[in-house]
């Protein structure tokens, strides 16, 4: 009986320790690293929100946090690219269509150049190229927004990408 009780208590304690990790919440040590890192970026809340919701950040060093942020950049750019393609299938005014076509090129550069360069540079240990690539992604998004002379259907997406790219560049800068 006592043995069963002991087993139960031990099991409960172990579950309390490990259940949060298995559900994707981040351990205290990792949380401190995330907060310390994010304080050195221009958008603390964006940074923390993205890193804390990625389970890989629980076992991260700054390089890995940078890679997580680049992955977030990739996900956003992919989402926006898909949205652009969807919009282009519709019936659009000439200048909006032109703007979206430019944006398709610009977001293609983010996905085909900036993201792979950033990942490669971080993995291989020449982070300055990752910083340049992260900054460039923000510039491409800004150029996309400037592609529309009037209404832009991508204002929020472009702003979001610029935010994440600024955060990613700032994290990479910590490695330099």
């Amino acid at each position: 009986m006592k043995l069963l009780l002991l087993i139960f208590i031990v099991q409960a304690v172990l579950q309390t320790i490990y259940l949060p990790a298995s559900q994707g919440a981040v351990q205290p040590v990792a949380v401190r690293l995330i907060e310390r890192t994010c304080k050195q970026t221009p958008l603390y809340n964006v940074c923390v929100s993205i890193l804390k919701s990625d389970s890989r950040s629980s076992k991260a060093d700054v390089t890995r946090l940078a890679l997580i942020m680049v992955d977030a950049l990739k996900a956003k750019a992919t989402g926006t690219m898909n949205y652009i393609k969807t919009l282009l299938r519709g019936n659009l005014k000439g200048d909006v269509r032109r703007g979206l076509s430019s944006c398709a090129d610009l977001y293609n550069a983010v996905l085909e150049a900036d993201v792979p360069v950033a990942i490669e540079a971080l993995q291989k240990g020449d982070p300055k190229f990752a910083e340049q690539a992260a900054n460039d992604a923000g510039i491409e998004a800004k150029s996309c927004e400037s592609s529309f002379s009037g209404y832009s259907p991508l204002t929020k997406s472009n702003k979001s990408l610029q935010d994440v790219s600024a955060v990613a560049a700032a994290i990479v800068k910590l490695l330099l």
């Binding site: 992955d71 977030a72 550069a109 150049a113 490669e120 993995q123 190229f129 702003k159």
Partner: protein, 652 residues
């Protein structure tokens, strides 16, 4: 090539974030409009206003477009009455202080992003600067001279116009100007350089053997140093290279992280007959230069002391270490030393993307180096180049006894532009390096004399007077490939002095003061909608002495958004009795500017949309308020260097 070894690396698979912070869909809510009691009346009023507006619009559209100057304008020197600072054009809201090369491009916010044409992109390719036919290049590697040929290797991506998949590209020239492309010298085909054949240097041993030390990024992402040597030393083209089977010859030592160990230098001999090399690194934010001794380039001993260290400078990349003669007329072999010799230590700072150097004394007995002026130490003092410039490296030319400096000039446009035009990056024209024994505080850089073989016809201008606030066109024909020598004299107008200057170069050439800015406008179009000023500005410093600033202002270099538009520059020493002088090499999208015989240099990248091909012009300008400027110039048209592939099929 073998199959790629498996490695434990960081997962590259994208993970779709389920809790994205921002929704990709645009918000689109329109506020409810208040109900109007006199709806009908308001409807009539607004219809009238709409009709009137429509009429006004139609009338406006039918007016002629603004007059553009015709081609047969007034001859060569017509001082235009136009005030320089009133010339319209988009003024980018850039960085006010403007000497950092790292700031992001400036957008005025109202500019539409630019639609580049193929003609614009083609124009950007240079005529006489080294660049591969296509794709990405970065650091120059292992420059050397062998059996009649100068060799240049370079970090090269054969697959794309952005960094990655790095190999050693290769080219040769008999004169450092007319380059011939050769096949890639080294691929990342061994475990010890699987993830990159990175930067390295060549050492020529007595007897002529060549050894190259280069950084390899291993299959486990560790930075190591590897040895390579020519497969056939009697091949003047050095086409094939052998990687030492026992590689790597150096791995990160204790206390050095596996990603902070790269770019080994050329070796030099010590008094004990052993070779030394140095490798840059960092410890806790202090940039350091590790020293190794070797007798055979395969076995090394790490010295306890570093060659030098400077706190707060971060990772030292592309370290370079070489002697200069203080009676400087010739360059020195890397092993030279003794009295009458100073040593230059240089590092590329990873965290600022800037190349710094310092003059100092090398103590061969204990392999340490001490700067002449600790306040001008490596990383905090002088830079080789105050523009877009990085990863430089020197070598000794034994033929003409010169120390020659290469530097990588990155693009300052976007990755999208580079992908579209299919290439990225240039090397500078190689420069000779000499100690400046007039100032004793800096080196002098000057384009190698062989560049002068590209000079075609020249035009002289003697004593052209440019009044305050005016611009003078110099009629020299096409203005995209030029070698310009200019001297300036100023003549005070006795007016009250205004000397407000923001920072070193102000916020550019429209920042007027008594004694400047004045200089040249390169790659400018007729209407000055695009222009790049290169100028001097004199100002009284706080202690009453006169300081001279030398600057380049890219803010109006192009109407395109998305390209960097920096103001670059520095103070330049001007000694008593010296005239203000500058030399400028204009070559399409690169401008290299040298002040006072090469005391300060600025390399600039520009991407005009209007001032291209036949539309590009050259002007003198004087935006000072209190002085006339008298300019004397000699300007050459420059031929292309016709850089092309080596005709290898003709020698087999």
């Amino acid at each position: 090539m073998g199959t790629k070894p498996s490695h434990t690396g960081i997962s590259t698979t994208a993970s779709d974030l389920e809790h994205a912070a921002y929704s990709p869909l645009p918000g689109h809510s329109s506020p409810a409009s208040p109900r109007r009691p006199l709806k009908g009346f308001a409807g009539i009023i607004s219809s009238c206003i709409f009709l009137l507006a429509l009429v006004a619009l139609i009338l406006d559209q039918s007016q002629e477009p603004s007059h553009k100057p015709g081609k047969d304008e007034a001859p060569a020197l017509t001082p235009k009455a136009t005030s320089f600072s009133n010339i319209s054009g988009p003024v980018a809201r850039g960085v006010a202080q403007g000497v950092s090369a790292k700031s992001s491009p400036s957008f005025s916010g109202n500019e539409l992003s630019y639609n580049w044409t193929n003609a614009m992109f083609s124009w950007q390719r240079t005529a006489f600067h080294f660049q591969p036919q296509r794709n990405w290049m970065n650091d120059p590697d292992g420059p050397l001279y062998h059996e009649g040929w100068y060799h240049l290797f370079y970090q090269y991506n054969p697959d794309s116009a952005v960094w990655g998949n790095i190999t050693w590209g290769h080219a040769v020239s008999v004169d450092l100007i007319h380059w011939l492309y050769l096949p890639i010298a080294m691929f990342p085909d061994s475990w010890f350089d699987w993830n990159g054949v990175w930067t390295g240097s060549a050492t020529i041993l007595p007897g002529g053997q060549i050894v190259i030390l280069y950084t390899g990024d291993t299959d486990n992402y560790v930075q190591v140093q590897n040895l390579a040597y020519p497969a056939n030393l009697s091949d003047p083209l050095l086409l094939d290279w052998v990687k030492y089977p026992g590689n790597p010859v150096l791995v990160p030592p204790t206390g050095i992280l596996p990603k902070d160990f790269r770019d080994p230098t050329t070796g030099w001999l010590g008094p004990d007959g052993k070779w030394r090399i140095t490798v840059g690194s960092k410890v806790n934010g202090t940039g350091i230069s590790l020293v190794y001794t070797t007798t055979n380039f395969t076995d090394y001993e790490l010295l306890d002391n570093v060659l030098h260290a400077v706190p707060g400078t971060g990772m030292w990349e592309c370290v370079d270490f070489y002697p200069v003669s203080i009676n400087g007329t010739k360059g020195l072999d890397t092993s030279a030393g003794g009295p009458g010799v100073k040593h230059v230590l240089k590092a590329s700072l990873d965290n600022t993307k800037l190349d710094y150097y310092a003059l100092g004394t090398y103590f061969a007995e204990n392999d340490t180096w001490v700067p002449d002026d600790p306040e001008q130490d490596v990383g905090i003092g002088l830079r080789y180049d105050y523009g877009r410039y990085y990863a430089s490296k020197t070598f000794f030319d034994p033929v003409k006894e010169r120390r020659i400096l290469w530097g990588w000039i990155n693009e300052t446009d976007t990755a999208n532009d580079d992908l579209a035009k299919g290439w990225s990056s240039l090397q500078t024209i190689p420069r000779t390096v000499l100690y400046d024994n007039n100032t004793g505080t800096n080196i002098l850089q000057w384009p190698v004399e062989e560049v002068e073989s590209l000079r075609l016809n020249s035009t002289d201008f003697d004593g052209v007077v440019v009044e305050p606030g005016s611009v003078v066109e110099l009629d020299i024909g096409t203005a995209t490939q030029l070698d310009i020598l200019a001297e300036f004299e100023i003549e005070s107008l006795g007016l009250e002095e205004t000397n407000e200057v923001n920072g070193l170069c102000g916020s550019g050439a429209t920042d007027r003061s008594s004694f400047g800015p004045f200089g040249l406008l390169v790659i400018a179009d007729e209407t000055l909608s695009e222009l790049t000023p290169i100028y001097f500005r004199l100002a009284n410093s706080s202690d009453g002495s006169l300081e001279t600033y030398f600057c380049t202002d890219e803010r109006r270099s192009s109407m395109a958004s998305g390209v960097f538009k920096q103001v670059y520059g520095s103070t330049v020493p001007v000694l008593d009795g010296e005239t203000l002088s500058m030399r400028i090499l204009v070559d399409h999208s690169i401008v290299e500017s040298f002040a006072q015989g090469g005391r300060r240099v600025i390399s600039s990248r520009i991407y005009p949309t209007e001032a291209i091909y036949g539309a590009a012009r050259l002007f003198l300008f004087n935006n000072a308020t209190g002085v006339n400027v008298k300019a004397t110039l000699k300007i050459w048209q420059m031929n292309s260097a016709f850089i092309h592939p080596f005709p290898l099929d003709q020698i087999h």
